[in-house]
Symmetry: C2
Subunit: 581 residues, 2 copies
């Protein structure tokens, strides 16, 4: 019966990344699909979709014929293919060739500590590592500690030839490809074949490896595109309105949780993909101007670098109609200045994590808010947002009950849905810690308002317990960052004999501006307490002004380091108990 009905082409048609890759070459073979600018030399490489697809096919042939890469099957990983690379056309080729031959892509986060990088490579048991020329020094540093695991290395560079190196088994990427056929018969994989293995940053303990199947990445991408069709603000739709003609620049590193999903959606959409290597301020401006980039995602730090760039106004950035800012609150002063220089600029919040691949919660303007004034819309857009289309997200108390939608009660964010990781690779105990009662437990704290908007309040372990109350530190940090004189702010709990803990704010001031601890407290009183956004007892009693807030390797506030050096921060903090009361 099955041989007659062909369920594998019907009810069981597999959802594979292969489908994404085949679409642009079929309908736009001769159009430029991938543009790469070398961030060191400033040189450009351009590929039509056919050229890029043929390179992916050559790479796939090489993986099977030369590199001994083996395909996985549901429940059993294929060979792990590690990458140590920036955002180049080659990295995008690996993003498709590896999963689509059945192997497991392991994008190595080269911003982790060397210890953690070594750990993830040995834990994943990478068969082969593809490395960018500019990342070779890092690879040389760790080579001795991974050489038992990784037998083969492939060197990726725009310049022909191999460097002089102590690594014996190094192959040249371009030579590897040129020896292979541009034809490749892609296997009809099961959709549950594991496509990728992504490690968490491991702020506490060792990184954990989250696995994702083809089906999961396909469904995340498809829901993301479908979500675009129901976004309600005209400004936001500006680039979608251009459909396939949108020109996205992939700023988020491809080694960060699938580059926020862009490598998948942009290829399936046949949009011209602009790859900047890694971020440089001149490269950014030059690429926007030359390639007429329509959409980018940036973090606040990059926004600040753009504004401080002396040649900024010499570039024509008018094509940019869709700029999302994620990864932290955008200071008000920075936002105002950006809006003046980039009229189509908009702040949009979001929340995701390695385990959600990462799409989880995103800013959203609900249908009845469309006509609201800009400042009202902005208030909505800086809320973390609504659950991603197709995902179940809830905020629960310690008994697992949903918290009320009162914009006040906090609880833990729990998630389930088609693309939430099923398990940590080789770590059943860690998996059991997060997957409980049918929900993935994020360890993040949030509240939910009467419209269903979720606002992230804190990491569970960073919550300050002051008396019987919880002080959500991320909420405070984002609020302090709204002051126009503030560059960044971190809030941590310090021991207190009366309350158990009390909040301390560590604040850096924008270059060229001056402000005191009193200004911070006054701002919180005026902006937060009087408007009812926070309660009086949440205002930090201690405020330290410093240019030096500790950060992790991926740029998050390192609160553990603050606690480890608490005496130092207490010594520079001012007691603001009088003003705060």
């Amino acid at each position: 019966m099955d041989s007659q009905t062909y369920p594998e082409y019907s009810t069981n048609y597999p959802l594979l990344l292969t489908t994404f890759m085949k679409r642009p070459v079929r309908y736009y073979p001769n159009q430029v699909g991938v543009v790469y600018r070398n961030h060191v030399t400033g040189e450009y490489l351009r590929f039509t979709w056919r050229q890029w697809y043929e390179r992916v096919s050559q790479l796939a042939n090489a993986m099977q014929n030369r590199l001994g890469i083996e395909s996985g099957k549901p429940g059993v990983l294929g060979s792990r293919v590690g990458t140590m690379a920036y955002n180049t056309h080659r990295h995008l080729e690996l993003y498709y060739a590896a999963p689509c031959v059945g192997a497991t892509l392991h994008p190595i986060n080269i911003r982790l500590s060397e210890d953690h990088i070594v750990y993830t490579i040995n834990h994943a048991q990478d068969s082969v590592i593809f490395v960018d020329d500019v990342v070779m020094p890092l690879l040389e540093n760790i080579y001795e500690r991974i050489k038992e695991t990784v037998k083969l290395f492939v060197y990726m560079s725009d310049k022909p030839g191999l460097p002089s190196t102590k690594i014996p088994n190094l192959i040249e990427y371009e030579k590897l490809l040129s020896a292979e056929s541009v034809m490749f018969e892609w296997p009809h994989l099961h959709e549950d074949t594991i496509a990728s293995l992504c490690y968490t940053t491991g702020t506490t303990g060792q990184p954990k490896g989250a696995t994702f199947t083809h089906r999961q990445l396909y469904l995340m991408t498809l829901h993301g595109m479908a979500r675009q069709s129901i976004v309600n603000t005209p400004d936001f739709v500006a680039s979608d309105r251009l459909g396939e003609n949108a020109v996205p620049m992939l700023n988020t590193p491809l080694f960060h949780i699938h580059g926020w999903g862009a490598p998948f959606s942009t290829v399936f959409s046949a949009q011209k993909v602009v790859l900047p290597g890694t971020f440089t301020v001149r490269g950014f401006c030059e690429l926007v101007e030359r390639e007429k980039v329509t959409s980018v995602g940036i973090v606040p730090t990059i926004a600040a670098m753009l504004l401080e760039f002396k040649d900024f106004e010499q570039y024509d950035l008018s094509s940019l109609t869709n700029i999302g800012v994620g990864g932290g609150a955008l200071p008000l002063g920075l936002k105002t200045k950006l809006e003046k220089m980039l009229p189509n600029f908009r702040v949009g919040s979001g929340y995701g994590m390695t385990e959600t691949a990462p799409a989880a919660i995103g800013a959203f303007v609900k249908k009845h808010m469309v006509g609201w004034a800009k400042d009202q819309i902005d208030e909505v857009m800086v809320k973390t947002g609504l659950p991603f289309l197709g995902l179940e997200v809830d905020i629960v108390d310690e008994l697992g009950e949903s918290v009320p939608w009162d914009d006040r009660t906090v609880g833990e964010i729990v998630i389930r849905g088609p693309w939430v990781t099923r398990e940590y690779y080789k770590s059943p105990d860690k998996t059991a810690e997060v997957w409980r009662n049918g929900w993935f437990h994020t360890g993040d704290i949030a509240k939910i308002d009467e419209e269903g908007f979720i606002v992230i309040a804190d990491r569970l372990k960073d919550v300050i317990r002051s008396g019987a109350e919880m002080v959500p530190t991320v909420l405070l940090e984002n609020m302090i960052a709204m002051a126009d004189f503030v560059l960044e702010a971190a809030v941590v709990g310090v021991p207190d004999s009366t309350w158990g803990e009390k909040p301390m704010a560590i604040v850096s001031i924008r270059p060229g501006m001056e402000a005191t601890a009193a200004d911070v407290v006054n701002f919180l009183n005026d902006y937060g307490v009087k408007s009812g956004k926070i309660t009086k007892w949440m205002v930090p009693r201690l405020v330290a002004i410093t240019a030096d807030i500790p950060k992790t390797s991926v740029g998050k506030f390192n609160k553990k380091a603050v606690r480890d050096n608490l005496d130092h921060f207490l010594s520079i903090a001012q007691d603001m108990t009088q003003q705060a009361a």
Copy 2:
């Protein structure tokens, strides 16, 4: 291990219609979600999403508690729930309650012949049939022939009470609901549970029942929404730009191949759904004006009815920004007139069939065509189009080889993909006829141009074989319809001693205009042959002018009836061999 990783909430998260239904009630409980206008009385009913969802929940409870409806599982159908209804809120309630409790929805096509209706009900073995008050006479007519199969009937009406009827086991829908709780715990079904059973129109032989799983309908909907995000013409995106604020009117009957998918996408998108019962010209205009409808899909016949409606210009139809015309070629004169009265009007072709649920091929403006002049874009939009996002479509010769993309060579359309029906219910032989070599064979003939656009040429069985050549009749019909004096045109083959067959055109003229057989041939010579669109030998040698072209119950040309009455048509046809040569 599985109990720790919860694959059913992760890698195996089921794709269910339940997800669509839950979204609007969660985020827009108090907004009007469903508007129904009774096409007989002109009265309105309005439901918030919460009200509508609670009614669906009551219906689900009734199905389990009162109607004995049983859930299916993969490979085994649940109880079949038949509907004989127009586009009402109740029909939309059935569209969700039945599949989401695990039953199989069977929307009965009430426009089929009574013989065929009886056949489909008995073949499907419907446990229960839900019937609109205005459809009761039809049910009474066929009752004796289905009463052994169907044990229970539910009567749906805006007026309380049951009619006097010979049908003994008739329950009142509104009473049934009001006895039940508004809370319902939706089952966590397997995504391969069969959600619907849709019968083909059966122009030859008996109707065949195509089955669709939850996964299939979910994936069709999601790909459709994702496709909206990459559509390239600003005009077309006008209503998408409004996202959730789009107001679709569901004109296509819900008993026609899932109402072209609208019952799924509009609910998931939380758009206000406008249900007109069945089409009336005044109801159409009134609903557009009062509900500010933004998008409708219409067939050419309805377009003609609108233009002939005397009060047409008294209505404000300016909210309409997205009008698709499908189901046949739009005559040029009609198109010009519509464009004048509805400035946002656009023609968009499409192709689908019961077995594809129905999304298969749709008009699409490719990225480099966006700047083209309107008449050039129109030429693109009347091509049948590109395969639907996520679907594999090919045109193959008799050996199964792909035809070249030369806009000339014709072959059979074959399809496979996530939502193509796996099988005809209880008909393995008919299934084996269409599913061969891993492809679903449509029996339709098309060619494909150098851009990948597919143009439907004919039904395989309607192709005229003239000498060594094939004359694609649908292509000719669409071309004749482009003449401004033509209302409709059908082309059939008649026996010819020299060529085997030769084409005969049967043409009806637009009311108020006059034209002769010679005008038809002259138009084809000027418009078709001189421009190279058709060859000289394709021009019909016989042309019959008549107001009476035979049609099937669903409004398609009934070529079998023409062939059965060939003598009549030959007697009124003029021999145009001289002019055609």
